[in-house]
C-alpha cells in the first residue's frame, strides 16, 4: 500500500534575521515523501488500514530527518507535521498522517506513552492531571496543517515546543514544498523539527525554562 515515489529533505541554518548573529545558528529541517494515493479518484469509506500501514514510514522519516539535520535527538526542541493531498484525493487522506507521523517523532524524542491507546481513541496528549517532575520527553501534541493542492504547492508546517505547547518562543512555521508533487494521484507527507526558538525571539510568554506542569501544555 505504501510506495515511496520520491523523498525530499530540507535543512536550513538561520544565522540571524537582521539582528545579532546567533552564537549557534538555529537549525530547522523538514522531510517530505511523495506516495501513491491508493484512494485517489473515489470515495473509500474505510481508510483506516492505511493509518497502520504508515507507521513504519513515519518511523523511517523521523529517523531520516534527524540524520539529515545531523544533531543528537537531545537538541530537537520543536516539531510539526503536515500533508498535501493531490487533486484526485480528499483532505481526509491527509488526516491519516496524524497518528503515524506524530507518534513516530514523539517516540524518537523520548516519549514514554502508549501510542496504541491514542489510536483507539483515548484522549490526552500528555499526562492527565499533570505529573511530578518530567515524566518523559515530547509530551506536547505535534501541531499540523494539511491541504489539497497542486504540484509544487507550499505548506506552512507549524512548529511548537516538544514538551509544552504554550512555550511562546518556539511558535514557528517552516515552509515545505516539493516541486512537481503532488500529482493528482499522490500524497505528500511531511515531518519537521527544529533545534530551538525563533532566532530573535523576544515577545515574552511562557519560556521553555519555566515548563512546570509537564502536561504537554505548560
Amino acid at each position: 500500500m505504501i510506495e515511496i515515489r520520491r523523498l525530499l529533505t530540507h535543512v536550513e541554518d538561520i544565522h540571524h534575521e537582521f539582528g545579532p548573529v546567533a552564537a549557534q545558528p538555529l537549525r530547522r529541517g523538514a522531510i517530505a515523501v511523495v506516495l501513491t494515493n491508493p484512494f485517489a479518484g473515489r470515495h473509500e469509506p474505510d481508510i483506516l488500514p492505511m493509518m497502520d500501514a504508515l507507521n513504519p514510514l513515519g518511523v523511517d522519516m523521523a529517523r531520516g530527518l534527524r540524520a539529515a539535520m545531523d544533531v543528537p535527538v537531545e537538541r530537537i526542541e520543536a516539531y510539526g507535521k503536515g500533508a498535501i493531498v493531490g487533486s484526485a484525493g480528499e483532505l481526509e487522506h491527509g488526516a491519516l498522517w496524524h497518528v503515524p507521523g506524530g507518534y513516530a517523532m514523539r517516540e524518537l524524542l523520548g516519549w514514554k506513552g502508549d501510542r496504541a491507546a491514542y489510536q483507539r481513541g483515548a484522549t490526552g496528549a500528555g499526562v492527565a492531571g499533570g505529573a511530578v517532575g518530567q515524566p518523559g520527553n515530547a509530551l506536547a501534541i505535534v501541531p499540523s496543517t494539511k491541504k489539497v493542492g497542486a504540484p509544487g504547492t507550499a505548506l506552512d508546517v507549524p512548529l511548537t515546543h516538544i514538551n509544552a505547547a504554550y512555550v511562546r518562543s518556539h511558535f514557528d512555521a517552516i515552509e515545505m514544498r516539493v516541486p512537481g508533487a503532488p500529482a493528482a494521484d499522490e500524497i505528500v507527507y511531511v515531518l519537521a523539527m527544529s533545534t530551538g526558538p525563533r532566532v530573535h525571539q523576544r515577545v515574552g510568554g511562557l519560556k521553555a525554562s519555566e515548563i512546570s506542569k509537564w502536561d504537554g501544555l505548560r
Binding site: I4, R5, L8, T9, H10, H16, F18, T36, A68, A154
Partner: protein, 194 residues
C-alpha cells in the same frame, strides 16, 4: 570581506519511482543555497571584486555541502549547476560577478575534475522567487541523460539587499532517461563537451 551569510539551506531530492516504474538506483540531487548580504546593493559600484571573492568562497562551501548531503565521494558526483537570485536593490551584474569569474574552480575541486562548463541561471527576484538551476554532466556537457534542472527558492529571501546563491550537485541523471544522445559510457572527458 567574507560572505555575510544569513541563512544556509541544503536539500536532497531522491526519486525512487517514476510512472510507477522503479528508478534503480534512485536519482539524487542535492541543492545548497546561501542567503547573503549584497555589499553592492543600492548604488552603482564599478568594481565588483568583492562579489567575485564571495563567489569563490561560496563555490567551495556550497559544493562541499552538496557532496556531504549526498554522502558520496567527490568523484561520484555526476552533474552540476549554479544560479543566483539578486534582490531588488541589486543588479544582474552582481549575480554574474558571483557566478562566473571564480565560483567554478572550488566547486570543481569539491566534485573532482569537472571538465565541463557549469551551466547557470540568474535573475532578479523577491522573497520566495524560484529559479530553475540548469544541470549538465560535470565532465562532458553533451551527455543527454544529464540535462536537467532543479528548482531552488528560499521562502523569505532575497530581501532587497540580499542575494541567494545556489549550487546543485547530483550523483545521477534524469530518472528513466531514454532519449539517446551521448551516453556516460562514451565520455572522453577531455574538452568538457564529449
Amino acid at each position: 570581506m567574507p560572505a555575510q551569510i544569513r541563512k544556509l539551506v541544503v536539500q536532497v531530492d531522491e526519486t525512487r519511482l517514476e510512472m510507477n516504474r522503479p528508478v534503480e538506483p534512485p536519482t539524487r540531487r542535492a541543492l545548497a543555497m546561501a542567503v547573503i548580504a549584497n555589499p553592492c546593493a543600492g548604488r552603482y559600484v564599478e568594481n565588483l571584486d568583492e562579489l567575485v571573492a564571495i563567489g569563490e568562497e561560496l563555490g567551495g562551501l556550497l559544493g562541499r555541502k552538496c557532496v556531504e548531503a549526498l554522502g558520496i565521494e567527490p568523484g561520484q558526483a555526476q552533474s552540476y549547476g549554479k544560479a543566483a537570485i539578486v534582490g531588488e536593490s541589486g543588479e544582474l551584474e552582481h549575480a554574474a560577478a558571483i557566478l562566473h569569474p571564480k565560483l567554478g574552480a572550488p566547486l570543481r575541486a569539491a566534485v573532482e575534475k569537472g571538465a565541463a562548463l557549469v551551466p547557470s541561471a540568474k535573475k532578479r527576484g523577491g522573497l520566495g522567487t524560484a529559479i530553475d538551476v540548469p544541470l549538465g554532466h560535470k565532465d562532458a556537457a553533451f551527455v543527454r541523460s544529464h540535462f536537467d534542472a532543479m528548482e531552488a527558492r528560499v521562502s523569505d529571501a532575497p530581501r532587497a539587499s540580499e542575494i541567494v546563491v545556489a549550487v546543485v550537485v547530483t550523483d545521477s541523471g534524469r530518472p528513466l532517461a531514454r532519449i539517446g544522445g551521448l551516453q556516460v559510457s562514451e565520455i572522453k572527458g577531455q574538452d568538457g563537451l564529449r
